[in-house]
Amino acid sequence: MTTAGASNSSAGKDIAVYGCLLALAGIQFLIAYSDITASQMFVRMLIVAMVEAGVALLFFMHLWENRGLKWFVIIFTVAVILGMQYGWTDSFRLSNGVPWAK
């Protein structure tokens, strides 16, 4: 493939990824107006956001091309974010234990 051909192919791939990200962002906005509970909305939006972030990481930030770095970033980031989730049970305890709780 010539340099111009390779450049056009890369630009086409970038535009396809951009379209995919726009579509995922659009899905988040649709979920916001759907008739579901707040917790269902939260879970669905979070899943879409994670897919969106994954696409951006893999293709815009070139993680797809570097296997070692990909796993390094995934393991470090997921470990840190999972470590932060310990507080949720306390959050629910607060909402059930405060004077205005039923």
Binding site: A25, Y33, A56, F60, G68, L69, S91, L94
Partner: protein, 211 residues
């Protein structure tokens, strides 16, 4: 083995060891690795803020839903996603050695960042005009305003820093002081700012829409 053979063997071993010591981690240049480590650390900062936001939102009784429309936030999202694409174009042109086009796309990315910041400030001033401040808001618990301005402010700070970085790195790249790798590393930061926004929009804006 003669003394000469031993000497040659020692030299070869030393050069192999030096190669191992200087080989970049994960085949990534040191500058890019440093940016990745910064991104991981910064993602922990934003994750901490968003988890704290979720914690407080969950534990607060009268959490307000003050947003009546999505036009502004949708436009901000469109601009930021588009800026990631223009940054990709800048990096692609830099890799192919087209300095003029790479610089032009970098500046377009910076302009997108400025537009995003302007829309963000317009929204802030609108909310301040309705009586929301860092310690008070007219719709419910004051924690809403504190968290809203803190999280979006932290993101806006990153966008502003990114715009300055894009302009400085773009100018130095055009002047020949920086190369395509430097532009790509700045691009990594810009994509990260975009990536954070993908979580801020649903959690801070869309879950607080007035229905």
């Amino acid at each position: 083995m003669s003394q000469a053979d031993l000497s040659i063997h020692a030299q070869v071993s030393r050069s192999e060891a030096t190669e191992v010591m200087t080989a970049p981690t994960f085949s990534v240049p040191a500058k890019k690795m440093a940016m990745w480590l910064f991104i991981i650390a910064d993602s922990a900062t934003f994750a901490g803020c968003l988890v704290a936001y979720g914690f407080i939102r969950n534990a607060s009784a009268n959490w307000p839903r003050p947003f009546h429309g999505i036009t502004n936030v949708a436009l901000m999202t469109l601009i930021l996603l588009t800026s990631s694409l223009t940054m990709m174009f800048a990096v692609r042109h830099a890799e192919s050695g087209d300095t003029a086009k790479a610089f032009r796309w970098t500046l377009i990315t910076a302009v997108c960042g400025i537009m995003f910041a302007a829309l963000h400030l317009r929204e802030w001033f609108g909310m301040i005009g309705e009586g929301a401040t860092l310690f008070h808001n007219p719709w419910g618990t004051p924690l809403f305003s504190s968290l809203f301005f803190s999280i979006t402010g932290l993101h806006l700070l990153h966008v502003s820093g990114g715009v300055v970085a894009l302009i400085v790195v773009g100018l130095r790249y055009r002047g020949g002081r920086y190369n395509a790798d430097d532009l790509e590393i700045t691009g990594l930061y810009w994509h990260f700012v975009d990536l954070v926004w993908m979580f801020v929009v649903p959690l801070v804006y869309l879950l607080n829409l007035a229905h």
